[in-house]
Structure formats: C-alpha cells, structure tokens
C-alpha cells in the first residue's frame, strides 16, 4: 500500500516510474523470501536485488555462469551472467552445465525471462523474426532461456506489452510455454514447471488452469482493460473483475534506482554496503 505522503514525495521529486521500472518492481514483488531464483542480467537481477532489500532478504540468486548465492552490490550489478563481477562474492561457484542440471533436478523456484515474442500459451521466441529458414532478423537465441522455462518450478516472464510481442503464434518456439495449450506441455514430456506470470508495463497476467491460455489478472495503475487488449495481438482471457495492482512507491523506485547505479542523489541514503 502506498501512503499519500510517499506519493506526494515522489511527485515532488519528479520520480515518475518509467515502464521498464514498473515491470521490474512488479516482478520483484512476486519473489518470496527464502526461495531460489535463476536470474538473468538486467531486469531480473534488479528485481532480485530489490526483493532482497525489501521483503526477501533470504532469496538465493543463481546465474547461469555457475554462480550460486551471488553478492549484489548496489550500483555494481554485473553486465553479464558470465563474468568476474558476477562471480565475486558468490557463496558457491560450480560449472555452467551443473547450474542447469540443478534446475533439471528441481531446485530452482523461479526462472525469469525476457522475450522478443510471446504467444497466448506462453511460448517464447528470442531466436528470430520471420521465416525460420531465412530469418529477417537473427536474434541472440535462447542462452539459458529454453532450459529455464523447461526446468524451473515456475517461470516469470517480464516484457513490454506491445502487439508485436504479444502474438497469436510465435515465429519460433525458442522456449516452450504450454505449447498448444491444455496438456500439450506435459504430453511433450515436460513434466514440471512452465510460465506462471507475465509481468508487463500494462498488466500482470497468468495462464488459465484448463486451457493454459493467457489471462489478465491485474492492471498497472491507470491502465484500462481495453488498453491491455489493444496491446495484445491474440484473444486474452479477461475475467469479469480485474484488480488494480498496487502502484509503485517512491521508496521502491528510489531503492531500485540506487541498486541499479543510477545517479539519482535523492535515492542515495549514504549507505553503499553489499546486499
């Protein structure tokens, strides 16, 4: 809950959250204390750092480069999941392959993914746009994403909400969601996990239990159902009642920017110690 004072404070400071900040903060709220998160660079790592500072001090963060229980220094979050900055201060270092094998065993509560495209059943494309045989755009590819969504207990997807991303059918299933819906994922042999939440700048969404179709669950403050539907290029499941999500607080925003190393002096509180 945001207090009036905080809102006023934020307004006074001109601290309006950007869309990517709204997503990161919404995602951070999903992380429960004591759990294990397989994180990527950027938004997932910032969301993890924020959750650790606010409500989940015992969240264990994993990186695909072999790092377990990484050290999150405000303003010095690593640029890559595979570099010295990410490894220093970890509680455990193992091999890259071993990290994914721990995921396959079932040790990781959360995976986090970004997308180039996502479809109504949560299938994710980060490989290519256009004809797979001769793509018009070659994207970076899965990295760990295919394994994360196949093996983590649940996977949170964080992305801007745009029609070109929310498509009826992805051009390429880099990372499997619920495939064609219903039991298709399980029938394909993926016995565990799957996408649990989709966090966007407009909304919070999940997947209907039976059909595994994407469903609107919450609206970012000030966003309408119509706006979400318009930004989605497939038919969403829209319940009769949709909650409005708690707005971003000034404290969340300031702390997040601090962790992210942004030079907002008002966010600095003098301490610069490690998480």
């Amino acid at each position: 809950m945001t207090t009036v004072d905080e809102r006023r404070l934020a307004a006074q400071r001109g601290l309006d959250p950007r869309p990517d900040e709204i997503m990161t903060i919404s995602a951070s709220r999903l992380l429960e204390d004591g759990k294990v998160m397989f994180a990527g660079i950027g938004q997932p790592l910032v969301a993890a750092a924020l959750a650790r500072r606010r409500h989940a001090p015992n969240l264990t963060v994993i990186l695909e480069g072999g790092m377990v229980g990484i050290h999150l220094m405000p303003g010095e979050l690593p640029d890559s999941t595979n570099e010295m900055r990410a490894a220093i201060g970890a509680e455990m270092l193992t091999t890259a392959t071993d990290i994914f094998l721990m995921a396959q065993r079932g040790f990781f509560d959360y995976g986090f993914l970004g997308v180039a495209q996502i479809d109504m059943h949560g299938n994710v494309n980060t490989s290519l746009i256009g004809d797979p045989e001769r793509p018009s755009v070659r994207l970076p590819g899965p990295g760990g994403a295919n394994d994360i969504i196949s093996m983590c207990n649940e996977t949170v997807i964080v992305t801007n909400h745009e029609p070109r991303r929310f498509v009826e059918r992805v051009d390429w299933v880099t990372s499997p969601g619920y495939l064609t819906g219903g039991d298709a994922r399980r029938e394909a042999g993926l016995r565990h996990g799957g996408p649990s939440w989709v966090v966007t700048d407009l909304a919070l969404l999940d997947f209907e239990e039976e059909t595994r179709r994407m469903r609107l669950r919450g609206l970012q403050p000030g966003v309408t159902v119509e706006q979400v539907v318009a930004a989605t290029d497939f038919e969403l499941v829209v319940p009769d009642h949709v909650d409005v999500l708690d707005p971003v607080t000034a404290e969340e925003l300031a702390l997040m920017r601090h962790l992210n190393g942004e030079t907002d002096q008002s966010a600095e509180n003098g301490e610069h110690r490690a998480e």
Binding site: G34, V36, L59, A87, G89, M92, L101, Q104, R105, F107
Partner: protein
C-alpha cells in the same frame, strides 16, 4: 508402469516431492537427535556419505543406532564396518555397495559375511561407477544414464540391468537407473547455518549424493559465517537449498577420518575387530550397545582418551600440504 525394478529410481516423483517439500533458506541448525528423528524413518533408503573409512558420518549414524530404525537399506560406494553395526542389530535389511571391507589390513567384513552367507541380509552388488551413476542420474534429475559399466558381467545380469541404444550411433550400453535416496547423511568440514557446505580434500560422490537425496542431513566440524564461504566459493560443494538439517558435530566422522582434521583411530578399529573376532555379530552388538549408552556423540567422544584424539588431530594437521 506400476512397480519399478529399482526403488528410488523415479526422478519425476522425486522431483514432485522436492517441489512439495521446499527447503527455504532458514537457520537449519539442530541437534543430531532432532535431525535423525525428523528425517530418518523406518524402511528408508539411506545414502551414506564418504567412502570406506573416509569422512563417514559416524555421529549421525550413531544417532540412528541410538534411536533405532527398522528395514533400512544402506547405500554407499565403498562400505566399512559402519554397515555391520546396522546389520548386527537387525536395523538394516539391505546393503547396496560395490565393496565391503574393514580396511587397515583387517581384511573381510566378518559380520557382513556371516549375514550374507546365511541369507539374513540382502546384499546388492554394483560396480563402483554403477553406484556413482545412480547418484549422478538422481542429482541430474534423469531416470538413467548410459555407461559401459557392468556390461558382460554377472553384476549386470544379476541386477537385471537393461540396455539402452543410442538413437544416433546405434551403440548399445547399459542403462544405469537413477537413485534418489530417501535421506542422505553427509559429514563435511564446514558449513553455514543455511547448509552451504564446503568439503576439503576428496569429495568422493558427496556432491551428487547431496543433490540426489530427498532429504539431507549434514554434520559439520564447524559452523562458519556465510561471508567466509565467499572467500573460496569454488570449494562449496553442497548448496544450502539441498539441505534439511545442519548438525554441528566436531569429530563427527570419528573413529573414521576427516581430511585435514583427524586420521582414523586404528585403535578403535582394533577394539571393534577384537570384539567381532571374539564373539562374531554379538561382538558388533556389544559395540553398538556401548556406543549408544552415551547420550550423544560428544559424550561418546569424551570417553575416548584425549591423548589418542590429540594424536589423530596432530597427525592429520602434520600431513597437510604447505
């Protein structure tokens, strides 16, 4: 599939269990008595860490003997006299291993021999790698791993191992079934309160055992700050999220050895073997009786002449590379 040829080999079910019973990052310290009471049940398949007389979780095993359990299966790559304590007292009905002996020139395991030869205990013989791959498959979350191990031998035939063909090369190999033991007991040199644990020297199969097991109790020579693990994170072998209980137990492998801390107490081996040579399995039972008459491992340790312990520690420290 209704019945599995190899109990504990269903990784899907083992994972579903893991998802139900998460191990959040909390302070997991507890006494051995509580850890064993909570996590070791009658009928369990117990994976015993270390091998032979190396880093055996003797304090935790002693607590199982103290509390008493029935129908246990003990799984260990190489087995020493600890298995005989469970066999002689009727607590273990099955031993799964690649080798049983006392070591230190003591030769065959007499009590085990007696019970196997008279059919009173089930002895399941695997190759060393066979045991290792069962744990590794369990740790990897897959139901089997392909290997040359035990091909062509009576081990593979007796166990009724299945072959698996490579879909690319056509090569046929043995499929080694996974094992997710009900519980593992592992002794380490140091751990934090969350169970992040470091092993010095030989790791043996303990990283795989820790990850494969459905429940995991570790005992540790010392509890350290989490931050001290960060100084040498590559040495952290067991992640806290695999651990259910952390038992602070100095001398926790005694009378077996713990790398860097103490050597095995050959005098204790002699006492045990003298008892067995004199009275067979009754000697082993008397050894257990004397052991469990102490309320805990610390109290048992207090009964060992201090100069003996000091020498075992000094000899171990004297051997360390410098």
């Amino acid at each position: 599939m209704t019945t599995l040829a190899f109990p504990g080999a269903d990784t899907v079910e083992a994972r579903e269990e893991l998802e139900r019973d998460r191990r959040p990052r909390v302070d997991k310290r507890m006494a051995a008595a509580e850890a064993i009471r909570r996590f070791v049940s009658d009928g369990d398949v117990i994976a015993v860490g270390g091998t032979n007389h190396a880093r055996t979780p003797m304090a935790l095993l002693g607590e199982v003997l103290r509390q008493g359990r029935r129908e246990l299966s003990l799984v260990r790559p190489l087995t020493c006299f600890e298995s005989e304590l469970f066999i002689a007292t009727g607590m273990a009905s099955k031993v799964v291993t690649s080798w049983v002996g006392i070591g230190h020139g003591w030769g065959l395991a007499r009590v085990l021999r007696e019970y196997v030869e008279s059919g009173q205990v089930t002895y399941e013989e695997w190759s060393h790698l066979g045991v290792g791959l069962r744990f590794k498959a369990g740790a990897m979350g897959v139901p089997f791993l392909p290997s040359y191990t035990m091909m062509g031998s009576d081990l593979g035939r007796q166990l009724d191992l299945a072959a698996v063909d490579c879909p690319y090369t056509g090569q046929s190999l043995n499929a080694v079934p996974s094992l997710n033991p009900d519980v593992a007991l592992i002794h380490v040199q140091r751990a934090d309160v969350h169970g992040n644990a470091q092993i010095d020297g030989y790791e043996l199969m303990d990283a795989d055992i820790a990850r494969a097991s459905r429940r995991l109790v570790i005992s540790t020579e010392e509890i350290v700050d989490t931050d001290s693990l960060r100084l040498d994170p590559a040495r952290t072998t067991i992640p806290g999220f695999a651990v259910d209980a952390v038992v602070l137990q100095p001398m926790g492998a005694y009378p077996h050895e713990c790398y860097g801390h103490y050597l095995a107490d050959e005098e204790a081996f002699r006492e045990y073997m003298d008892a067995v040579r004199a009275a067979g399995s009754q000697g082993a039972r008397e050894y257990v009786e004397a052991l469990v008459s102490h309320p805990d491992h610390d109290s048992f340790m207090a009964s060992v002449p201090p100069h003996r312990l000091e020498k075992l520690k000094a000899d171990a420290k004297g051997m360390m590379p410098r």
